[in-house]
């Protein structure tokens, strides 16, 4: 069965590259343009991994993570922050909140694929 990945980002150009990359890696790709769209989607599907931007309009990445963590159905879902926030304090905060990985922008496509593979093996 194909692994499911949910990409949550408000930048269409970035989404486009991630979508292309993970489709090529044989993932089933879902896209949400902000936190609220992601939450809506998560009611109907359970992805294996969520790539989550932090700075987004309406519902941001932190809030989205919080909702995912509180949802029993999504206990096995891994969450990876993909964000421009690269200060040590930001990274610490993200991991503390329960993110499984923290990738900073601009990212290397190969590296992000490797990280995800490692995560969901």
């Amino acid at each position: 069965m194909k692994k499911k990945i949910l990409i949550v980002d408000d930048e269409p150009n970035i989404v486009m590259t991630l979508e292309y990359t993970f489709k090529k890696q044989d993932f089933e790709v879902f896209i949400a343009r902000d936190g609220s769209e992601a939450i809506q989607l998560l009611e109907t599907m359970v992805p294996d991994v969520v790539l989550l931007d932090i700075m987004m309009p309406n519902v941001d990445g932190y809030q989205t993570l919080d909702i995912i963590k509180k949802n029993d159905r999504l206990q096995d879902t891994k969450v990876v922050f993909v964000t421009a926030k690269n200060k040590a304090s930001d990274i610490e905060k993200g991991l503390k909140l329960g993110a499984d990985k923290y990738v900073t922008k601009p990212f290397s496509v190969k590296k992000i694929v490797a990280e995800i593979q490692e995560l969901i093996g």
């Binding site: 408000d10 930048e11 150009n13 590259t17 343009r33 700075m55 421009a84 990212f107 496509v109 190969k110």
Partner: protein
């Protein structure tokens, strides 16, 4: 009118006064009792029967010679703001209760000086009171239609009963409290009431005489000017008369400060210092009103009666002559009011002086220190009561035996001259710290002797023996010793002459002995304090230097004897609290000594207070040098303390300022961090897109479909554009915000600029099928930086474009001119701006949640930059919603 009816009227009137005084005492805290008007009116105790009757006599016989007596106070009152303020401050601080207390305290609590001043005041005032009684008696007589008046015996004499009634009044309201520095509000209010009555009644008789009996002032003048000897009355024999005027004015100048009754109402009874401000102009006005009709009444009387009758009583005789008994009665009551207030206040003031400066310090101190508090206060009150009765009875006896022959005016002036002997010690002592007690005593004694020789003696001799020998030839027939022309000065009126010579010797002695004798340390200490009260009031109880040993319990014992257990406890606990001292303190310090003396001063006078306290303490002699040193030190300590306090206040302020600045810096720093964060984020976003796309294309070059590759390439272009746009905007914004961007203002047409902006964005609009219309018609030529305003307009238009729907979108530019400004509006028909966004729209990187595109195309700086530009032009930019739909972004620019 019969004796009995008249006496009944007097009794009724006194009843009314008792009632008023009673009500005032009962409402001692009410606003009207404590008003500056009551204070001012009580000062009019100055206008006694002398004013009421006597000045008409002078006006009839000597012309305008009555005026200087009122000019002195009129000149003195404006000086009150300096003089009286000083006197008031010192008096309040030291619980001064009489002029004797005041002067003796200035010279180091000198017991003998206080007694001497008291005696001078008694000698000056008792005949003066007797003169008032004489006026009562004579006017009573005129009212009762006796032709002549001879006292047959005390029992038949209504004046005696009047005197007794006045003594009762003064006793009842004047000795309710032991502390004489406390206020006597009942008496003051009744005096104020009487002041209104006497002025009103005097004006009534003035108007009646001038306008009813005669045809106005012109009529009286025309008629009087035809009588014999008129010219002598209006002539002013210069320059000799000028001197007489000058000295008489000086005389009344000092009287308004020093007369015991004036000191009582103006200083002892003063409630608030600021009342003198009202009195300063109101009291001269009162005196002016009192003198308006004097000359006309005098002339009317002369025209009616000739020179046969006593001109002093024209005010009574005129209405009686025209059978107007009612009016005469009113005048009588007015005169009676003048008498009552003068007699009551004078005896009150004198009795305080007699008890506190004469009887207690010279006789009763030993007795007091052995007795209990209840008994002591009773003793003190009784001494005052007996003093009041004694003074009034003495005045009555003086009147019966001596003053029948004397005129009101002459006795008044003699009294003034005697009291004026205190002037050098009082006035010079206030401003010159060298003035010593020895000098004051000698000055007063010499001045008084001169007055006795040049005024009292010849005057008495003239009145009682027809022998003019002494006056005409002088003592031992020496020309230079003629009492009215001492050392050849023969052109002054007797009172002015006496005043001149007595003052001359008094002041000379005062100055000479002050310069040659230094006085003891206590004297110098008080002198410093009086001369410079402002400096010393800050030192308060430490202003007086004292060195020695004393037990608090001893001092407490003395206080208890006069104040009672309760008051003493209260006063002491307040004292300990004020100076932060332990309440179980054993040894007294200088402050406690001074404080206790002050407490006692009100009850027994300053001299006695000093003696009593000195009895229980072991005082060490201090040299004058030491006193001055200690004073200097405490002054210095005080100044240093003040300086330290000021410095510490300044430091606190500075710290607060620093803290504020620091907080501001922290906020600014955080804002800067946030800005950098946001900038980094905004830069990284397109960079991420470019980097990811490039990497994919590099790795996947072979099996990537062409349309995907094209899309990636287009994305990369778009991201690069966004990147460079962002960098430009950040630089722009930073330059504007830091002020490095200078405007290049030139004369431009706003229409041209608007059209340029519209055309620059038109291709984007066409892509989105949004219509842009320009409805602005104002062809204004104005000064602005076109590139920048173009930037603003483009920003607003592209912002509007973002929010308008595809195909149906419509953007309208409008303008209007008002108050030297042009307002340009960019309106769209989009969704409008959410209410909560208004405050933030012009913040940098603020993105509305309400945009049509998912990701805004702008840098997030457009509106923030626009705001900077508009404000740099002196305009304003704001956002609002259209009434129907859509948003409006508008800005103004000054036309000039």
């Amino acid at each position: 009118m019969s004796n009995y009816v008249l006496f009944a009227i007097i009794l009724c009137y006194l009843g009314v006064l008792f009632y008023i005084a009673f009500i005032a005492e009962k409402n001692a805290k009410s606003k009207w009792v404590n008003s500056p008007y009551i204070y001012t009116l009580s000062l009019a105790v100055y206008c006694s029967a002398w004013t009421y009757y006597g000045s008409i006599g002078v006006a009839a016989n000597e012309g305008i010679g009555f005026l200087p007596i009122y000019l002195g106070p009129v000149i003195a009152l404006p000086l009150w703001i300096i003089l009286m303020r000083k006197v008031l401050r010192i008096s309040k601080q030291h619980k001064i209760s009489s002029v004797a207390d005041f002067i003796s305290l200035r010279y180091g609590n000198n017991r003998f000086l206080g007694a001497l001043i008291t005696i001078v005041c008694v000698i000056g005032t008792v005949p003066y009171i007797s003169l008032q009684l004489k006026a009562v008696s004579e006017t009573f007589d005129i009212m009762a239609h006796h032709d002549s008046y001879v006292a047959t015996g005390i029992i038949d004499d209504s004046t005696f009963y009047v005197a007794v009634l006045l003594a009762i009044f003064a006793t009842f309201f004047g000795t309710q409290k032991t502390d004489a520095s406390e206020k006597h509000k009942g008496i003051v209010v009744s005096v104020a009431f009487e002041s209104i009555l006497k002025l009103a009644f005097f004006l009534v008789i003035g108007i009646y005489t001038t306008f009813v009996l005669f045809d106005g002032t012109q009529d009286i003048y025309d008629r009087i000017s035809q009588t014999d000897g008129f010219s002598a009355l209006t002539q002013f024999g210069a320059p000799e008369d000028g001197f007489t005027w000058f000295f008489t004015i000086m005389l009344s100048f000092s009287a308004i400060f020093l007369l015991p009754r004036q000191f009582q109402v103006s200083v002892v009874e003063n409630i608030r210092e600021r009342h003198i401000k009202k009195a300063m102009w109101l009291f001269p006005l009162y005196l002016l009103l009192f003198n308006v009709f004097v000359i006309f009444i005098a002339w009317s009387g002369t025209l009616t009666f000739g020179t046969e009758l006593n001109a002093e009583y024209f005010t009574l005789l005129l209405p009686l002559h025209h059978d107007n008994i009612g009016l005469a009665l009113i005048v009588f009551l007015g005169g009676f009011s003048a008498v009552i207030s003068m007699v009551v206040v004078s005896t009150l003031a004198l009795s305080t002086m007699v008890s506190n400066n004469l009887i207690i310090p010279y006789g009763f101190l030993g007795k007091f220190s052995k007795e209990q508090s209840g008994k002591n206060t009773r003793y003190i009150k009784n001494i005052r009561r007996i003093s009041i009765f004694t003074i009034i009875i003495a005045a009555y006896l003086f009147y019966v035996n001596f003053s029948i022959e004397l005129s009101l005016y002459s006795i008044g002036l003699i009294a003034f001259t005697i009291i004026a002997q205190l002037a050098p010690a009082f006035f010079i002592g206030l401003f010159w710290n060298r003035g010593s007690s020895k000098a004051a005593i000698i000055g007063i004694l010499v001045g008084f002797t001169i007055t006795a020789y040049t005024l009292i003696l010849p005057f008495t001799l003239e009145a009682y023996s027809s022998a003019q020998n002494f006056v005409e030839n002088g003592l031992f027939h020496i020309e230079a010793l003629k009492p009215y022309a001492l050392f050849g000065i023969d052109f002054l009126s007797p009172p002015a002459h006496a005043f001149f010579w007595s003052m001359f010797f008094n002041i000379s002695c005062y100055l000479t002995f002050s310069l040659t004798s230094k006085g003891n340390y206590r004297e110098r200490n008080y002198a410093e304090m009086f001369v410079d009260p402002r400096n010393y009031s800050s030192l308060q109880d430490s202003a007086l230097v004292w060195k020695g040993e004393a037990y608090v319990s001893d001092i407490k014992n003395i206080l208890v004897k006069f104040l009672g257990e309760k008051r003493t406890e209260r006063a002491l606990s307040l004292f300990f609290m004020k100076y932060d001292l332990p309440p179980d303190m054993q040894m007294a310090d200088a402050r406690l000594i001074n404080f206790s003396e002050k407490l006692l001063t009100g009850s027994i006078g300053s001299a006695s207070a000093k003696i009593l306290i000195a009895g229980v303490v072991k005082e060490e002699e201090i040299s004058l040098v030491e006193v001055l040193k200690i004073l200097e030190e405490s002054k210095e300590a005080f100044t240093k303390n003040k300086m330290l306090k000021e410095k510490s206040e300044a430091l606190t302020k500075l710290t607060a300022q620093l803290q504020n600045a620091n907080e501001e810096l922290i906020v600014k720093d955080r804002q800067k961090d946030e800005f950098l964060d946001t900038v980094a984020h905004e830069l990284k976003t397109p960079l991420t897109g470019i980097r990811a796309a490039t990497e994919i294309m590099q790795d996947d070059a072979d099996d990537m479909p062409a349309e995907v590759r094209d899309q990636f390439l287009q994305n990369m272009l778009q991201d690069s554009d966004r990147l460079s746009r962002l960098i430009n905007n950040i630089l722009d914004f930073e330059k504007l915000a830091t002020g490095r961007q200078k405007l290049e203002k030139q004369r431009n047409s706003i229409q041209v600029t608007i059209n340029k902006a519209i055309s620059s964005i038109s291709h984007l609009a066409q892509q989105k099928q949004v219509r842009i219309q320009n409805k602005s018609t104002d062809e204004k030529e104005m000064l602005y930086d076109e590139d920048r305003i173009l930037q603003v307009l483009t920003n607003l238009l592209s912002n509007a474009l973002k929010f308008t729907p595809k195909e149906t979108g419509l953007i309208t530019v409008r303008s209007k001119v008002f108050k030297g400004m042009i307002e340009i509006r960019v309106e769209d028909n989009g969704k409008g701006i959410p209410e909560e966004d208004f405050p933030y729209i012009f913040d940098k990187f603020y993105q509305s949640k309400n945009q049509n595109t998912v990701k805004p195309e702008g840098s997030g700086l457009g509106l923030a930059i626009s705001k900077q530009i508009v404000e740099k032009h002196g305009g304003r930019i704001w956002a609002q919603n259209n009434e129907k739909n859509g948003a409006v972004l508008a800005f103004t620019l000054p036309i000039q």
